[in-house]
């Protein structure tokens, strides 16, 4: 189990000073956890390694800035998540929109590409979605982040929310309906 230690503080100091070799220490200490986390968002181990190694390559050019050792895990999680999302987009483009992605029979996943609203700028769609999501309850958001964002598995989400499989699916269905209605309202407002 990785925990925040005095070693993390020293590591962050070295990273802040731009000591490139501290990246090797960071990889030794957290690489396994980062790979396991990346694996949630991409199809296989090789893809997870692509994501994590590319992140380290970017940190070599621009050292990561983490102020507080207590927030290191949160920083790594967020960094790996964004790197995985970028990787998926690139992979989708390179493979002619047939990316290597995790497929979950309960979820439509990130792997089908449907171009909608092509006449509406992407930023506008993202903004509408963010505003609609902000109006949902914490539980609804967690369900949707599981279903669409692959952040959690169905089982993890059921445990987190303390609901049965049947209740998970029922609540997810309602959450999707609520989000669809809110999105329609946001669209009308625009």
């Amino acid at each position: 189990m990785v925990s925040t230690t005095e070693g993390d503080r020293e590591l962050l100091e070295a990273l802040r000073r731009g000591e490139a070799r501290s990246l090797a220490a960071l990889y030794q200490r957290y690489g396994g956890k980062m790979l396991g986390f990346a694996r949630r968002f991409v199809a296989d181990q090789d893809a997870a390694e692509d994501v994590v190694i590319d992140l380290f390559r970017r940190w070599l050019e621009r050292p990561p800035r983490v102020q507080d050792a207590e927030r290191l895990s949160a920083f790594l999680a967020t960094s790996v998540y964004h790197a995985a999302v970028d990787w998926v987009r690139r992979d989708r483009a390179e493979r002619g929109q047939t990316p290597r992605l995790q497929t979950d029979p309960d979820s439509p996943g990130l792997n089908s590409v449907v171009a909608v609203g092509q006449d509406v700028p992407r930023e506008v769609l993202q903004s509408r979605l963010a505003r609609a999501m902000a109006q949902l309850s914490n539980q609804d958001r967690t369900l949707l982040e599981t279903h669409y964002g692959h952040a959690l598995t169905t089982e993890e989400c059921m445990t987190l929310l303390q609901v049965s499989r049947a209740a998970f699916h029922q609540r997810l269905h309602r959450a999707r309906e609520r989000l669809a209605r809110l999105l329609a309202e946001e669209e009308r407002r625009d």
Binding site: Y27, G31, E49, S73, Y148
Partner: protein, 131 residues
Amino acid sequence: MIDRLDALIRSVGLPVRPETLAAAWSLSEEEPGSRRLTILVTLRARPGMDEELKRATVEFVEATRRLEGAIGSTWHRSAGDPLTFVLVERFAHRGAFERHMAADYFRRFQVVQAPLLAAPAEAIFLERPGA
């Protein structure tokens, strides 16, 4: 309406909140150690020598890819400094890396790159314990 929602999210993605990512992080299993080895090599070209260094680097990367035990070899030009290149070399195990260093193409690259570099190449080894 749900179909349209699904299509929209597939198109633009659904952002995940930091707190959900934190929960997912804490639930994620560490990948077991591996014999794999990744090396990040930084090459800084002398001004005016970057295109020549790029050509030599591309040749080197392509030769590395043909080595048995090499998982991947890529080169990247720094977005912030066009004179800086980063090589990402991945090997299945130390043995493959040692064969890489003993290969003719490796020695040839050492000779060719020397007059093109503004500073000695820097290498960082990414390995995980338990390998």
